[in-house]
Amino acid sequence: MRNTTSNLTFSAGLILGFLSIHFLLDYNISTQVMYLRNVNRGVKGLHHHVYTGGNQNSTSHTTRILCWIMTGPKNLESRTNHIRATWAKRCNKVLYMSSTKTDFPTVELNVSEGRENLYWKTIRAFQYIYQNHLDEADWFLKADDDTFIVIENLRYTLSKYDPEKPLYVGRRFSPFIAQGYMSGGAGYVLSKEAVRRFNKGFQTGECTHYSTLEDVAMGKCMETMKVEAADSRDVKGRQVFHPYPPDRYVVKRPPRPRPLYPLYDYYTPVEGPGCCSDFAVSFHYIYAVQMYALEYLTHHLRPYGYKYRFNPDERTEIKTTTKSK
């Protein structure tokens, strides 16, 4: 009997001694092997990515966006396909407007193809939307099939406006229309009230097929129906909608006689890094490869841990900082 009790006590002591030394050693070693760890763990998720949807005044203003893309049968596979594979899925609703109905799916607008019919397409498209989808969104984006849109940034841009007000947002051009008009290629957005007024204009005859220049003609109707042209630039005065690809603006070029196109800009354009907002919404003349490349650069590739200079939600902005040496 005495033997078994002493054996038990011995074993208990053995275990306790073993465990306490083991615990002590483990604690020390872990801090020493900092650099020697090269563990290949197949853990998913390189970072903790949270999509917060941003700080928007979300009390009464929602930002549902219906996107309609002006396209045609010839471009479905070569262009529209890539839009569908990239940014279109971030719209609350997307409609592909064409002259024919297909399984793409496209909506048939009862308008023939061709540059001279672009405004007819726009008129019919907004009519269709007004009749069938008005309640599904607050803002209505028109884009071309070679426009790249960053929907999150569009939501952010629009969040400061009230969709029940008659508003028209995009890259503001100055000629022809007093309050300016929005570039068609850069994509423009009508508020819900603006869509109502646009349709009313055609019902009453206040708006007509003013021109084959789709964007100018839209601008004319907006002016007639007292829809306000907005300033879409960010808080630093940088452009958000772009009627050309990024290299047209970002690359600083040597001084030269100005070409005609920048004279269209309502606000004096800036060339070089100050051209474009961090939260840019659109670029135009973007085809297949560039569409995916922009998708990659915007939504995928990023510099890990980088503290972006422009942080509108923070009080102070990083201008020049001492690099941590």
């Binding site: 006590t9 208990a12 002591g13 275990i15 306790l16 001694g17 073993f18 030394i21 083991h22 050693l25 900092m34 760890r37 090269n38 563990v39 290949n40 197949g42 998913k44 998720g45 390189l46 970072h47 903790h48 990515h49 949270v50 999509y51 917060t52 949807g53 941003g54 960053v150 999150e152 939501r155 952010y156 990024p246 290299d247 970002v250 690359v251 100050g274 961090d278 939260f279 490869v289 995916y292 998708e295 990659y296 650069l297 915007t298 590739l301 990023r302 510099p303 841990g305 980088y306 503290k307 972006y308 200079r309 422009f310 990083i318 020049t320 900082t321 001492t322 690099k323 941590s324 040496k325």
Partner: protein, 311 residues
């Protein structure tokens, strides 16, 4: 009796752990570098570190960029100076010959391999307290923050030689175009073996036209340093010999229904073959353009460089 037991148990444990600690550490140093794949740290791995340890680490990973240029392609030197190289802790340009317009270390050397040797030697001698070395071609575009993330938990006193690893017969080497990364220890061994004219000749190699990237691999191999492929935690290569558009184009052929996912890593470190204009667009695309509302909760913080306006 109890006390005897405790002491026995304690001694037993000590002996066991002493034995155990001998084997893994020796295996570690040689095993790791035959492993061939060097992955970026996972979130789990970084969980072990406290906030201040992470801060220390992010300040400790500092990179000396060795950028090889030539006067006949001056525009690339200008592009590198005004774009990605600003994110290096130290960026030094090495040229084959002097030129009034080019501010660079003149190595006065036309032979590619000899020039690379000289550049590496110069970098080693001027390293200061920098412990990681990144060698770039003029047409390379690098995202140094992502390089630092890859190297975060690696000890530069260990020999590391990494990038886009390729094979030529029996030789594993790092492709020059997509950037070569060397730890201090690897560079130290390399500079030493440069003195050995048999193992690592300065001129002999070019007779066989092996190319300097393979020359480098051979010399390093003699010192026990082997090429490793830098990849993200999904196994995607981080060092690319092509431009973004070229890679996207390839992906459109290979993965037409999943082009972007099937293409390149979110944490890519290098691209090559970008024109100076494209590099400026990359600065905007990488360091500025992003969708509002995505918070990453990254575990490190890298400040933007001083006096720069395009990032």
């Amino acid at each position: 009796m109890f006390m005897k037991g405790m002491i026995m148990g304690g001694i037993f444990c000590l002996v066991l752990s002493l034995l155990a600690s001998f084997n893994p550490s020796t295996e570690h140093t040689t095993e790791d570098h035959h492993h061939h794949h060097l992955q970026a740290p996972s979130k789990d791995e970084l969980k072990h570190f406290s906030h201040s340890q992470m801060e220390d680490l992010s300040n400790q990973v500092r990179v000396y960029c060795i950028i090889m240029v030539q006067p006949k392609i001056l525009v690339y030197w200008a592009a590198a100076i005004h774009t990605w190289s600003k994110h290096c802790d130290k960026a030094v340009f090495y040229t084959s010959e002097a030129s009034k317009a080019l501010e660079a270390v003149d190595l006065n050397e036309k032979d590619d391999w000899a020039r690379l040797r000289k550049a590496l030697t110069h970098a080693y001698e001027n390293a200061g307290d920098l412990r990681w070395f990144f060698v770039a071609q003029p047409t390379t575009f690098a995202i140094i923050e992502n390089l630092k993330y890859l190297l975060l938990t690696k000890d530069p006193n260990e020999p590391f030689y990494l990038g886009n690893a390729a094979k030529s017969g029996e030789l594993d080497y790092v492709v020059y175009d997509s950037g070569i990364v060397l730890s201090y220890e690897a560079l130290k061994r390399l500079v030493n073996v440069f003195k050995d004219e048999d193992k690592c000749p300065e001129r002999g190699g070019s007779l066989w036209n092996v190319g300097e990237e393979k020359q480098l691999a051979m010399c390093l191999k003699y010192t026990g340093v082997f090429a490793e492929n830098g990849e993200d935690i999904h196994g995607k290569g981080l060092f690319n010999s092509k431009s973004v558009e070229s890679l996207i184009s390839d992906s459109m052929q290979a993965n037409p229904t999943n082009v972007v996912e099937g293409c390149c890593s979110d944490m890519a470190v290098t691209f090559n073959g970008m024109s100076p204009d494209q590099m400026q667009v990359m600065m905007f695309g990488v360091y500025r353009l992003r969708p509002y509302g995505h918070d990453f909760h990254d575990l490190l913080l890298f400040d933007p460089p001083v006096g720069s306006n395009n990032d």
